[in-house]
Subunit: 311 residues, 2 copies
């Protein structure tokens, strides 16, 4: 039986957060709607950070409200803290994506607290959510950035990644995201870490979030798939990047990742041709951003997906 | 014990053959020398095709003679037929890379004969080489293009790839190259085919030759490494391409492939920083060609290769 792989679009958050050009709300909604039509069923539509910090997210209220009207779409949003969680509950998002770093240095730089403080914050959010009536209670995702290394601290302990994933699930996380924020991972390390994490917390969905900073995004996806990972974050045209590597490629390209999965015999439910077509919105709104991706340039192979289905 | 991976530079052949700008002989030699200094020990320096067909290779005689002066470098050259083989013997190259396609349509288009005729041609070359004194007899490589699909014929039979690899080795091939000429392969198909080929002809080196046309070059390398492949073709800055996919990426980027191998705990013997530096020659000589590659932009991770060595 064909196994299903879930690809979550995170470009409206992880991509747009580093883009200076403010994308109009209408264009963001066009992106969300077209990508949903192409078969992407979960989209991280924004980040609940103060608009004065990242003006790109000033329209989060509207974006969430509009996205919730798309039947069948799981609307998720990044939250850096309790305040973001409360806002997410008010707006009615389906899933809150809490983020913290495995590396102390990165966590301090990114969310201005220690790892221990982040864990406590996470527990407080779980407690807050328990007070929300079950019918309107969002799911809570626990994300671990810099899981394969850190531009500030260098190496990161694999034991620590596994331990923190376990702690988050024990605290009440409904899913886990293991992120190679800076593109330091290699396929063997990726396979090893995900095998360990899945062995411990495989009762909840475990997402892999890769950046292609050093070219290994899809190679690492192979490692994760081989380990048993069935959930991935990615962005249209690889939008995103790394503040420490100017000009470098960003997140894994969602249309190429879908192609990879399909050639490996997995089902993504995505119409890759339709997904590639959504890039026209980025080309129009962000003419100065580099759009990455190979399938968009080279096209699908002959006899695809017939060939892929039996591959 | 760390396993060694051999990366062969094929950009001077597979890359330059589709580049219109004629690169001066001196610049080609600079490229060969610098890349050898960076740790690349085998380079396919040219193709023995008539200069009127591909003017880029008009200087093959000089290039081979100069390359042979680099002590420790294995100098190989592509040959499309007996005539090329004879020329290679005359010039004293170390290895002749014979190429044929698994797909009949592609073989006809590329070397203007049927697959059966190519096999016969190959046998005749083996017989010719047996007459050459052992001390000056080049090794003979048998390459199978379009092993994972063909832009002309679509799907290609895996059984046929394995069968042809066996036939070539039975005929006298000293090594085999399995090539995804058009970027149709996926990691699972790659792993499966290489496992089968290695099981049958693993007594000789089996090279994997991937193109990144559809973005899966490094992902496919993971499949090949997992299957046990220890020999790869690649090109500096991914020079190369596909006449059927204008603007698409070319061969696998050798510096990124070296990084992939090192992050997976293999030893390539390559100084990645020095290898990246060789790109200056391409930037200078081929200002209109797109130079691909992520490591050249993002740089190596902190604590590399220390981190890689234990990964």
């Amino acid at each position: 039986m064909t196994q299903h792989i879930t690809l979550r679009e995170v470009g409206l958050r992880d991509g747009l957060q580093i883009v200076k050009t403010i994308v109009p709300t209408q264009a963001k909604m066009e992106w969300i709607r077209e990508e949903y039509s192409a078969g992407v069923k979960e989209i991280e539509v924004c980040s609940f950070v103060p608009a004065k910090l990242i003006p790109q997210f000033a329209d989060s209220t509207e974006i969430v409200a509009d996205s919730l009207r798309i039947r069948g779409l799981t609307v998720s949003a990044l939250i850096p803290n309790m305040k973001g969680a409360q806002r997410g509950v008010e707006l009615g998002v389906h899933k809150l994506n809490y983020v913290m770093s495995v590396s102390e240095g990165h966590n301090l730089a990114n969310v201005r607290r220690t790892v221990a403080e982040s864990l406590e914050d996470f527990s407080n959010i779980v407690a807050m959510l328990r007070e929300v009536p079950a019918g309107s209670r969002p799911k809570l995702s626990g994300g671990l950035s810099t899981s394969f290394g850190c531009t500030i601290e260098g190496r990161v302990s694999e034991d620590r990644v596994v331990e923190l994933a376990e702690r988050l699930v024990e605290s009440g996380a409904d899913e886990i995201v293991i992120a190679d924020t800076v593109g330091y991972g290699g396929p063997h390390a990726v396979r090893r870490v995900f095998e360990r994490v899945l062995a411990r917390v495989g009762s909840v969905p475990v997402f892999a979030h890769f950046h292609d900073t050093r070219g290994l995004g899809l190679a690492n996806a192979v490692g994760a798939l081989d380990a048993g990972v069935r959930y991935f974050d990615a962005t249209l045209a690889g939008l995103g990047g790394c503040p420490h590597a100017p000009g470098a490629t960003g997140n894994v390209v969602i249309e190429d990742l879908a192609f990879l999965c399909e050639t490996m015999g997995y089902a993504t439910g995505i119409d890759i041709g339709k997904l590639v077509a959504v890039r026209h919105i980025l080309a129009r709104e962000l003419p100065n951003e580099k759009l990455s991706g190979a399938i968009a340039v080279a096209g699908l192979p002959r006899e695809f997906p017939k060939a892929a289905a039996s591959a």
